[in-house]
């Protein structure tokens, strides 16, 4: 299986940016994914990157691989929707949740 590779566009070090990062890491670890690539891009420091990828909202999570590319916006607090945005089965997440 292709390695999970992600880009997260945030604007500055805000509470919302921090929330997105921790929500992402927590959700992935809960379903047993600890090994993935995550590139965090601050649009305030690097607006050209946002321009190149046509990013409008922050935070925006881009799943680069496995294809297809998919985007999720928000602080990623809704875990079910985050998993759908990553093409990961919510069933796996729910099972883990029940076991915990």
């Amino acid at each position: 299986m292709t390695r999970l590779s992600l880009k997260l566009f945030v604007s500055g070090r805000s509470m919302r940016s921090d929330a997105a990062i921790s929500n992402l890491e927590l959700t992935l670890s809960q379903i047993g994914i600890d090994d993935f690539d995550l590139l965090i891009i601050d649009v305030l420091a690097n607006p050209q990157a946002a321009e190149d990828e046509f990013i409008l909202a922050t935070p925006t999570l881009v799943k680069v691989t496995p294809e297809p590319e998919r985007r999720t916006i928000g602080d990623l607090s809704d875990k079910a929707l985050l998993l759908r945005g990553l093409d990961l089965s919510p069933a796996a997440y729910l099972r883990d949740l029940n076991e915990a």
């Binding site: 566009f9 945030v10 604007s11 500055g12 919302r16 929330a19 997105a20 929500n23 649009v43 305030l44 607006p47 050209q48 946002a50 321009e51 046509f54 990013i55 409008l56 909202a57 922050t58 935070p59 925006t60 590319e69 998919r70 985007r71 999720t72 916006i73 928000g74 602080d75 990623l76 607090s77 809704d78 875990k79 929707l81 985050l82 759908r84 945005g85």
Partner: protein
């Protein structure tokens, strides 16, 4: 620096023809102006033109933020107006922020978000090239892209604050549902309410009439009401300001010939230079002939322009030849330009814009328009009035004599609706009338009005032959010619008066 000088709102001349006059100098500088209009009201053209004029006229640098069309579409579409955006991008005068819909846009929303990336991109684009003009097209599209209206509203407010901080002059377009209703959808005016321009595209009498209205400019003045505009292929929007051009033209005492000697003396020495003459008459009374004679009366130093809306070029030249006027040679010598157009081909606003352009290029001293009545067909009274005012004031400004013809609906006497609209803006009126006497038709000519001069009060008989129009003797012993009901009196009036007094 005192406080008043801090608060004065400066204006940035947009460069959009006509608009700067309507807005008394342009849009408020360093501020955001809302440009609202229904679908098809040319918001995007206006938004692009605001930037294009900046680039072309002042080398201003510009950023265009697009939420609807892709930059590629805009580059392509605007080429037809003569705006080569691609070239400006290469010269670092123009930059796009592309927020148009992309296939990857179908994104999932998980939790709170803001439009920080969009704001960062706009700021980045502005700083990158040092832009002073920004257009955002359109706000409605942002609302349909992000469903959370509260977030979009607060983010739009952040955008306008950011734009203000950067000191740029910005236009934001917004959709309206109806031509006369709330300013814009989504209550956008609540946060960018300082300056509002409304573009309209109203269906009136089966034709579209485009107008622009400045609803408000906070802290600065502008003209009120709707002003018609047209969209032309080379240059985009051209506004037609009505109130600015009026009544500031000089008045001349120089006389020029009407081309008909006797008519000159009836007018007290000819038409005034920079005056508007209306020729009114029923069909076949010789209005086109008078327009032709007027053109033929030009000296070799003068240039004449003939706008024909009734007859084709060939017809016109053949007619002129029939009256002994050689249009062909005049045209070859560059003394004459004949412009033929069907009145119905475009709206009156566009006719006006085109006519002004020809006048500007050719710089004539004599202009004939044959006929105004043809232009009136299919136009609303309002747009016709605006057309006539626009044209007459322009002709007077360039110090030219204008001869307009107008058709009266009835053969005998009467006036037309056309005259009701334009008689007040014309300086002179010449009437051509049929006169029925003893079962025969003859024709009468009279000078009804000659602003700033005496004129003959007689109604004279005239005839038309292969050398043109010949004005003869005044009708005597006849009353009621103008009302179309002539009465012949056996004895001359002077004799009858004498008899009356003899009785006493």
């Amino acid at each position: 620096m005192n406080e008043t000088s801090l608060n004065i709102v400066k204006k940035l001349a947009t460069g959009i023809a006509g608009f700067d006059a309507i807005s008394n100098g342009g849009i408020p500088k360093g501020r955001t102006t809302l440009l609202a209009g229904t679908a098809g009201s040319s918001k995007t053209v206006f938004a692009v033109q605001f930037l294009a004029c900046g680039v072309m006229q002042k080398n201003d640098k510009c950023v265009f933020v697009t939420f609807e069309e892709t930059p590629e579409d805009i580059r392509q579409n605007m080429l037809s107006f003569g705006w080569n955006i691609q070239q400006w991008e290469d010269q670092k005068l123009w930059s796009f922020v592309d927020a148009s819909p992309k296939p990857a846009d179908v994104s999932i929303v998980s939790g709170d978000y803001d439009l920080g990336a969009l704001i960062a991109r706009i700021e980045h684009a502005i700083k990158k090239i040092g832009a002073t003009r920004v257009s955002i097209d359109s706000l409605g599209a942002i609302f349909s892209k992000f469903l959370d209206q509260h977030i979009v509203r607060s983010e739009l407010l952040r955008i306008s604050v950011a734009l203000k901080k950067l000191g740029v002059t910005a236009l934001m377009t917004a959709e309206r549902n109806e031509e006369y209703g709330e300013i814009a959808r989504h209550g956008i005016e609540e946060f960018v309410a300082d300056n509002v321009i409304i573009l309209r595209n109203v269906l009136e009498a089966e034709s579209r009439r485009r107008t622009m209205e400045i609803l408000k400019f906070r802290g600065t003045d502008h003209q009120k009401g709707e002003h018609p505009f047209s969209i032309v292929s080379d240059g985009g929007i051209v506004g037609v300001p009505l109130s600015t051009v009026l009544l500031n033209h000089r008045s001349s005492t120089i006389r020029v010939t009407s081309g008909i000697e006797k008519l000159d003396s009836m007018c007290g020495g000819g038409f005034f230079q920079d005056s508007i003459v209306l020729i009114s008459g029923a069909t076949g009374t010789g209005k086109t002939l008078m327009a032709t004679s007027f053109i033929s009366g030009a000296t070799k130093e003068e240039r004449s322009l003939f706008f024909a809306f009734e007859e084709s070029r060939d017809q016109l030249f053949r007619n002129a030849e029939g009256w002994g006027v050689d249009f062909r040679t005049m045209e070859q010598q560059g003394l004459l330009k004949v412009v033929c157009a069907y009145p119905e081909t475009t709206g009156l606003e566009e006719h006006l814009v085109n006519m002004k352009k020809v006048i500007d290029e050719f710089r004539p001293t004599r202009i004939a328009v044959d006929s105004l009545s043809a232009l009136e067909r299919g136009a609303t009274p309002k747009s016709f009035r605006e057309f006539v005012i626009g044209l007459t004031s322009y002709i007077k400004q360039v110090e030219t004599v204008g001869v307009f013809t107008s058709v009266t609906p009835s053969l005998m006497g009467g006036t037309s609706i056309t005259e009701a609209h334009i008689s007040t803006v014309t300086d002179s009126i010449v009437l051509l009338r049929y006169v029925e006497l003893f079962g025969e038709i003859s024709r009468g000519i009279a000078v009804l009005k000659m602003r700033g001069s005496l004129h003959e009060k007689d109604i004279r008989e005239y005839s038309i032959d292969q050398t043109g129009m010949h004005v003869g003797k005044p009708f005597r012993n006849i009353t009621g010619i103008l009302t179309g009901n002539p009465q012949y009196h056996q004895t001359p009036e002077s004799t009858r008066f004498k008899e009356m007094f003899d009785d006493v």
